[in-house]
């Protein structure tokens, strides 16, 4: 009963307007990589799924988008039940089948190239990765450039994957294929689309 209740509560209070607000935040963050978009707490998912990541999942995932969960999320039945009830999204069997991936612990995650990369004909068929991060300022700085960034932009999420800068460079080289990342922090989010290059990384 507890799982049932947890899985059913915590959806959008106002599904249409809430989803639109989240969509707008994600769209702006994708269009202007590195900018931080504020997002009020619109969803209340079971832990360890965060409010921001949960809201993004509610806005973007549906029955047609298989979702992959990293092991910490995979281990939580209430998380799976909550996503199932509110989005109807099936769980992807492998990262390569996923349209979206929710990553609670990016530091320990599998390599970026293990996820769907899209095809030359349909580069949109790649995985959008949603990283749960503690904030967007306390980690090593990432200097960004590319489309949507006038000169450079900066962001500093902590707990990013191992060898992230090198992995991201390889992701850039696969263009037009490649993954996109949504960084979901408490109260805000930012994005790294596949077109964004990471110039340097401070030690």
């Amino acid at each position: 009963m507890n799982i049932a209740t947890q899985s059913i509560d915590g959806g959008f209070a106002d599904p249409v307007f809430n989803a639109q607000a989240v969509f707008r935040a994600v769209m702006d963050a994708m269009a202007r990589p590195g900018t931080v978009q504020d997002l009020p707490q619109l969803a209340h998912p079971p832990a360890p799924l965060s409010a921001t990541a949960g809201a993004v999942a509610l806005s973007l995932c549906d029955n047609d988008t298989p979702v992959w969960l990293d092991p910490p999320l995979q281990a939580e039945t209430p998380v799976k039940a909550w996503l199932g009830f509110h989005t109807g999204a099936p769980l992807a069997n492998t990262p390569a089948d996923a349209h979206f991936a929710l990553i609670a612990n990016p530091k320990e995650m599998a390599a970026l190239d293990g996820f769907a990369q899209g095809t030359q004909e349909y580069p949109d068929r790649s995985t959008t990765l949603i990283f749960l991060v503690d904030d967007l300022a306390s980690g090593p700085s990432l200097l960004l450039e590319g489309p949507g960034i006038e000169k450079t932009s900066m962001i500093a999420p902590p707990g990013m994957p191992r060898h992230f800068v090198e992995q991201w460079k390889q992701n850039n080289q696969r263009f037009p294929r490649g993954v996109d990342i949504i960084l979901a922090a408490p109260g805000s989010l930012a994005c790294l689309p596949r077109t964004t290059r990471i110039k340097t990384m401070e030690a």
Binding site: A4, S7, I8, D62, N63, D64, A81, G84, F85, G88
Partner: protein, 371 residues
């Protein structure tokens, strides 16, 4: 090539206003209500549901009236509407063997379990227009005959025992049914995807192709193993419930076509099958679909592909009447620049042609003069 052209807004607005007026027609005639269409033009509604690929009687009826009875326009409206809705999931496959049967006939077995039940059919009517219907005569209630419930297994289950008929179409166990509403068409395609395309395909197009197979273009000796019409229950697996949730029932028409097959390098002599399953009551469509399904299995069964009905790319690419009408009707859009370019080209070719003609003429005159 299209070039943005401004203007015409007032003309368009007034044209739509005029359309609404003409659709309503003479105001002294009562306006149609949707339930009248649902009840009294039921097979037209069924066609819109089948080719619109959306089972919803009231919406189909609204589309019919909004389209002034233009079926393809109505189908277009329904297709457009369905793209606005989220998808909750895929139902469990319907069990046509458990159908509440309203009609069931077989041309291959006279005495099959459950019997032959004619239902509300046009067959055996004399196709004479009925003036009494025009006068609004009372209609008598249907006859009734109490019966003990008797199972009506699908005819394929009855035929299977001798091993002379192929099994139901199987796919590898891990095969996920393809979905043309999600993935673009790719050829060659698996049978499940063809069936989805055929089920929403244009009735007239499939009917003509089915007919062509009977007339010798990809002849495959069909028999109607069974046609059945009736209601089947729908169930959907949902994450929040431990059992598949019942959704209610829909009416479908199923056709099992049985085809004599003399064998090939790939398969022994046996009866092969074509399958049709469509929304609503439409045995013509279900039969045409089954004929086309069988013809399109030519490659799988090792037959030569010699006719249009066997050509997967030809049949599936052209069976959708919304696509077809879109591409044909787009010719109405302004092609002014295209046409200007073509006009210039034709003028030049004509000038060259005339120059050549004049040269030839001059040469001939010269020759004649010389002789």
């Amino acid at each position: 090539m299209y070039v943005a052209v401004k203007g015409g807004e007032a003309a368009i607005a007034n044209a739509h206003r005029l359309l609404a007026d003409r659709r309503r027609g003479d105001r002294s005639v009562p306006a149609l209500r949707l339930n009248q269409i649902v009840e009294q033009l039921a097979l037209g509604v069924d066609r819109v549901m089948s080719e619109g690929s959306l089972y919803d009687r009231e919406l189909a009826a609204l589309a019919v009236v909004q389209a002034r009875g233009d079926m393809i326009e109505a189908i277009f409206l329904v297709r457009a509407y369905r793209t606005t809705l989220p998808r909750f999931g895929y139902t469990n496959p319907v069990d046509t063997g458990a159908m509440q049967v309203e009609r069931r006939i077989s041309a291959t077995y006279k005495d099959l379990p459950g019997g032959q039940v004619l239902g509300p059919t046009f067959d055996y009517t004399h196709r004479l227009l009925d003036p009494e219907l025009a006068a609004g005569a009372e209609v008598e209630a249907p006859a009734q005959r109490p019966v003990e419930a008797e199972a009506m297994p699908r005819v394929s289950a009855i035929l299977a025992h001798e091993g002379l008929i192929e099994a139901d179409g199987e796919m590898p166990l891990d095969h996920v049914p393809g979905d043309i509403t999600r993935e673009p068409l790719q050829f060659p395609m698996a049978r499940d995807i063809r069936l989805q395309a055929l089920s929403r395909g244009d009735e007239g197009f499939l009917l003509a192709l089915g007919y062509s197979t009977q007339r010798g273009y990809a002849r495959n000796h069909p028999f109607v193993g069974e046609v059945r019409i009736g209601e089947v229950e729908l169930e959907l697996d949902v994450p929040e419930l431990p059992f598949p949730v019942p959704l209610g029932s829909i009416r479908v028409t199923e056709c099992q076509m049985v085809n004599q097959f003399k064998g090939s390098a790939k398969a022994p002599p046996q009866f092969t099958r074509g399958y049709g399953l469509v929304f609503g009551q439409s045995e013509r469509k279900a039969m045409a679909m089954a004929l086309c399904d069988r013809a399109l299995r030519a490659g799988e069964l090792g037959e030569d592909v010699v006719a249009a009905a066997q050509d997967e790319e030809f049949v599936i690419s052209h069976s959708d009447n919304v696509q077809a009408t879109g591409f044909v009707e787009h010719l109405k859009l302004p092609h002014y620049v295209d046409f200007q370019a073509e006009l210039g080209l034709v003028r030049r070719m004509r000038a060259e042609y005339e120059a050549r003609q004049n040269e030839d003429k001059a040469a001939e005159e010269k020759r004649e003069a010389a002789e």
